[in-house]
Amino acid sequence: MTRRARLVVFLAGAGGLAALLLWAISGLPSFGNYQGPYGNVLNHVAVGARHATNVVSAVTFDYRGIDTLMEEFIFFTAVIGTTLLLRAQLAEEEEPADDDATDRRTPAMSDAVRLGGFVMTGVTFLFGVYMVLHGHLTPGGGFQGGIVVGTGVLTVYLASEYETFLRVSSPTVLDVVEPAGAGGYILVGLGGLVGGASFLYNFLPLGVTGQLPSAGMIPVLNAAVGVEVGAGIALIVAEFLEQTLQVRKKQQTA
């Protein structure tokens, strides 16, 4: 196809897409005009029926808990994929990588980074756990909190050595913890089958609205997702760092 013909095809396609987009945008409801009945109904019903002050959590972990189960396994699959991919490459790279600058050393870590990372580790980890545990009361939840926990584990590496990071975030331990979180979600769902009517049916006491132990199975599911996501992030970081740092460590000791 000549350049001119390609341009004609592109212009025709782009013009059609622009026209359809404009048509679609002109039919959108105006800004801030919410027309979905589902949200309004849930805002009225959820706090009374589920004792969860965060209605978003009530939707993701109760009314549409099966969706969240699937999303959790998307993340789980992504972690498995990353781990498998990096392991295969590790086996291929038996010989040490070429070092073009053998006379240069990796610069020592500054005290500012070490202290900053040291301060951040505890705060980040605690905030992540807080976010997981309070998912049914305030914005947040297992997914967001889990990533914050994983970030807290990463700051251990920033503040210290790779060896210390491995002690906190040992892949052998995480390989067990991560599926345990994913499986915990299913176990709670099966509990619904045994103690209630259907899979993911709430079978736990609802408690007093606004208190930490309340909202039935929502905080338990949040905890399961938090464990899975936190361990998953830490596992991915550990696998990446293993790949990147192995070579560098060998050079320093040699």
Partner: protein
Amino acid sequence: MSALQALLLVLVAVAATGVVLTRDPLRQTFAAGFYGGILALTFFVLQAPDVALSEIVVGAVGFPLMILLALAKVRGGAE
């Protein structure tokens, strides 16, 4: 639409264009992280704090982290 919402929506457009126009992957990672932060602020101002939190942890932390680690690995093998 309030002035703050309008300002943030404009900033989202500017930051997104900045990400596209940045060609170096390392710089692009930081541009994308900044874009994630702006997007999170926008969600927060539009009264969606849950989504804002997800956007912060994924857009401003998780995503740049994965790209940086991948870049470190790719460059470590090439150089």
